[in-house]
């Protein structure tokens, strides 16, 4: 009896994670296919471009990496550029892992490995599950949906080429932005100061873009914009 109960609990938490991860899938598949097409054109083999998705799992830097490989850039150059572009994940992971304190390290570790802009955004706006028993299954499920969509999409792009007409794939490029907006707006409705933090971060990002790369500008917007939260957010009500 007891075991059946635990399993049902796990399944329901896991299923909730899958459902919440679905919009990420919607956003990832067309972008992953586009990446697959581009990487193939850049001279990567099907195996290499799929491996990159399996081991790197970071959209923007994979696009950049494939591009730089096509341009004949050196390995060190590509790796440093990747580091710069993905450094924002350090800040995001720090924020996410701080939320995940109740979760054991053996779960935190794979969750942190699967952190992207999108899994971070979705996970962070569902903070309650972290305190729940088996809550890690929720975050695990949504991360898994994202990861599988990304890898399978890349592979499909490499195999099939441009299966999605360009006008449609271009339009689907708005999907992730729409998802970010769809995550942010309900929080702003509840607490307008959250919107203020986002707007401050946008402005800092725009200003920084004038004199630094987009990777660092997003880091600056996130870190400095986040500081406004020190004054705007109330302490944890626990």
């Amino acid at each position: 009896m007891g075991i059946g109960k635990v399993d049902r609990k796990s399944t329901s938490v896991f299923k909730r994670g899958l459902a919440v991860g679905f919009p990420i899938m919607l956003g990832y598949i067309p972008i992953a296919i586009t990446y697959g097409v581009l990487a193939k054109q850049s001279g990567l083999s099907l195996l290499e471009l799929t491996f990159m998705s399996v081991f790197v799992f970071a959209g923007a830097s994979q696009f950049m990496g494939a591009n730089m490989i096509a341009l004949g850039a050196g390995a060190v150059e590509i790796i440093i550029a990747t580091f710069v572009l993905n450094f924002r994940h350090f800040v995001m992971s720090l924020s996410f892992m701080n939320r995940m304190r109740p979760v054991a390290l053996k779960w935190k570790l794979p969750l942190s490995m699967g952190l992207t802009d999108e899994t971070f955004a979705v996970s962070s706006l569902h903070p309650e599950e972290a305190k729940e028993e088996k809550g890690y299954l929720f975050y695990g499920a949504l991360t898994l949906v994202a990861y599988i969509s990304w890898v399978v999409g890349s592979f499909l792009g490499g195999v099939l080429g441009e299966v999605i007409p360009e006008a449609l794939s271009q339009s689907m490029g708005v999907a992730l932005y729409a998802m970010f907006i769809g995550l942010l707006v309900p929080s702003v409705k509840k607490e307008f100061r959250v919107g203020l933090i986002a707007i401050i971060a946008m402005l800092i990002n725009v200003i920084c873009l004038q004199f630094m790369s987009s990777g660092w500008a997003i880091v600056a917007g996130t870190v400095l914009g986040g500081f406004s939260g020190v004054f705007l957010l109330k302490g944890e009500k626990e």
């Binding site: 790197v56 942190s112 769809g182 914009g225």
Partner: protein
């Protein structure tokens, strides 16, 4: 050679992601640091949305802007996020093909 690049990219991507998993167990943060970290998701969303959304159709920034505004309206009216995403895609598709 490409394999070497992939391994290198994998390491420099993974390290920033996993290091926080180890350090939060060792550290207790002051209240203001927690507030800063709790604000990070909203700041990150802001920085990720704008001005990136303008580059959806690179030579027509207004289309991305409209797609974003449609998403705001749909999300504000309380629709499920799936419909926010689909509505925004449809509006961008219509604007870019018409």
């Amino acid at each position: 050679m490409i394999l070497l690049i992939i391994i290198g990219m994998s390491i420099v991507t993974m390290l920033p992601r996993i290091i926080p998993a180890f350090i939060v167990d060792k550290l207790q943060f002051k209240d203001w640091v927690n507030r800063w970290l709790n604000a990070i998701p909203y700041a990150a969303l802001g920085a990720l949305i704008f001005p990136g959304v303008l580059s959806v159709i690179p030579d027509k920034p207004y289309i991305g802007l409209v797609g974003g505004i449609v998403a705001i309206i749909l999300a504000y009216s309380g629709l499920n996020i799936i419909f926010v995403v689909i509505g925004s895609i449809v509006s961008v598709f219509l604007l870019s093909t018409l």
